[in-house]
Structures are given as C-alpha cells and as structure tokens.
Symmetry: none
Subunit: 163 residues, 2 copies
DNA sequence: CTGTCCTTGACTTATACTGACCAAAACTAT
DNA sequence: ATAGTTTTGGTCAGTATAAGTCAAGGACAG
C-alpha cells in the first residue's frame, strides 16, 4: 500500500496473470527479452518476477530454454480439491513442527485423499533429507530444525493449494 | 506477445515423433540426407536433433550406418521395470546437477508420464527450498549446492521406484 | 536507521544452426 | 581380389541468439 503497489514487479505480475487468464490452458509462453522491452527494464527483472511471484510454492511451474528460439513457459497448476471447509493446514503446521507431528499430519492428509501415497512419500523424503543435512552438515539445533521443517512443509502445502 | 516461429529442431522432432507413432514397433528408419532435404537444412542438423531430442536420457537409442544404403534407426526404449529406470535416472543425475539440468530432467519425467504435475511441483519446491537455505542460511557454494541437489533428487527418484 | 523488497548490469551458460572436413560402406572396373 | 569411386553418415568448431546468475545498490515501510 504505497508506491510499491505500482512497482514494476507487480505490474509485470499482473500482466502475466492476465495472460494466464486469457489462455484457458493455464499456461503461457513468452520471450524474456520481449517482456523486458515491453516494460522497459532489464531482462533479469523478469527472472525476479518469476522467482518471487511464480514460484513452485505458489503453485506455478516454469519451464524455459536458452539460446535460439528460447522461451519462458509459465504453467499454473490449479487444483480444485481444496474444500472450503478445510482448516488452513498452514495454521496447523505453525512456526515449528516436530518430525512426529509432521508425519501424523501427512498420514492424515493421505487418509483424506488430499495427497496420494506417492506424493506423501516425496514429501517425507524431502523433510527427512533436510533434517539430516541440518543435523550432520550444518549442526542445526533440534528446535531450529523444527522451524525449518515447518517452513518446508508449509511451502509444499501451499504449492498444492492445501495451505 | 506470441512466439515467433517454431524452431527447425522442434519441427523435425515432431515429424519423427509422428513417424514413431505410426510405426507401432517403437522404432523407425530414415535417411539423413532425405530428411535434411525435406526440411531444407544441412544434414548435420539432423544429428543435432538426434543428439538433443532422441538421446538416451530421453528414452531413445539411435543406430546408424554410413555408406551406400546407409540409414539412421531411432528406437524408443521401454524399461521392463521401474527399478531399471530409476537406476538409469540416478546415473543421469550423477554426483552433481545444476538447477537447469534438474528442471529439464523433471520436465522430461513428466512428459514420459513418470510423474504427475503435482509430484513435479512438490519436487521443485523441495529442491528450491534446499537451494534457498543453502544459499542464504548456510552460505553453501554453488558447486556444493549442485552436489546436494543431486543427492536430494536421487533420493526422491529412488523412493518413487518403491512406491 | 534498518531490514526487506526491488532494480540493474556485467558476466555466464545454454541452444540452434551451418559448413568444412572426416570415416565408413557399397559399388565398379580392372 | 583390389583399388578407386560414390554414397552415406559423423564430428567439430564457429556464429548467432537468448536465458540465467549474482552481487551491488536503491527505495521504502516501520
């Protein structure tokens, strides 16, 4: 709510959103160079927009190719299994969550058929991997690992629009 | 803001894909010279297409013979079981993998219907999260992030073979 | 004043395509 | 048989193009 609301990033974000709405397929292809030119900025500004607004944790996939005939493709994954009544899972996760609590939550999600067994597996692998790295590589305290676990879990849930 | 023209490579790729679909055997033979002529390019362009689109990591084998009655044969691989495929994939990931390479591999997996879009999304969130943490929290060097990325990716791929 | 978000540009990496030169298989005339 | 010719495909390096990365600095809310 300031001049920020008219920031270039926001303008470009809205432009891409509009393209996504128009293209019914939920995806759109564009040229980084052209976009940058259209909005009078450097090309890397586009990367910033993609990174900060169209990230996987926001439910987007971005594919791109460099070189001749290069492009950037933005894909919006929209999932309608997000029941309005469902509590906000991110609230359940909170700032910190133990390994046990996380696992219980994931079992729950699978029982409610909000994730497939394969999806749950991937999530568990990712969580455990982070945990191990934190413990053995970076000497992260147990509580801080709970914080990081919560962060990762929330990002994933958000990406699946289960947030 | 639509893309200019489809690249020659893509056009030739699609042509070969079509031939593969028509010939149910999962393989097709052709003449490099004829193909080049058909698409109005130099013969080595065909090699480029084969190298970049019909490589083993895309699930293809290419055999060829020079000289009179020479030919190029493109064979679509099918793995008898998931484990084999995962071993193959883990080899492709190797010890280190860049963000770009990882993304390409994931796109590939999805195109071959070995993962769903949702699964891919979760994986990308996990990779990206690890990257962010490595960069901003633990000051991990770019190359070491490539190592860690490869580790995580392999763990996930392996887990999927069991699911 | 401070931390966060935004913006920029120099530098790096990846892809498409071409053409000159190389290698091998088959044919042909001795 | 053998050597030379013809017919194919392979390789590699160069050129053009386009996207990615990173870090330094700017703008702004609190």
């Amino acid at each position: 709510m300031s001049l920020q609301s008219s920031s270039l990033t926001k303008i470009i974000e809205e432009y891409i959103d509009r393209l996504l709405e128009e293209n019914q397929a939920g995806e759109v292809s564009l040229r980084r160079k052209d976009l940058a030119e259209k909005f009078g900025c450097v090309p890397s500004q586009i990367n910033y927009v993609l990174r900060s607004r169209f990230a996987p944790e926001n439910g987007f996939l971005v594919e791109s190719q460099r070189g001749g005939h290069g492009y950037i493709k933005i894909i919006q994954l929209t999932f309608s299994n997000c029941d309005e009544e469902v509590v906000h899972l991110s609230d359940l996760v909170g700032n910190a969550i133990t390994e046990q609590e996380a696992r219980k939550l994931l079992v729950n999600l699978q029982n409610r058929e909000m994730t497939t067994p394969r999806e749950r597996l991937i999530i568990e692998v990712a969580l455990r991997n982070q945990d191990e790295n934190g413990r053995s590589l970076f000497d992260v305290s147990p509580y801080r690992r709970d914080l990081m676990r919560a962060e990762l879990l929330k990002k994933i849930l958000t990406s699946l629009s289960l947030g």
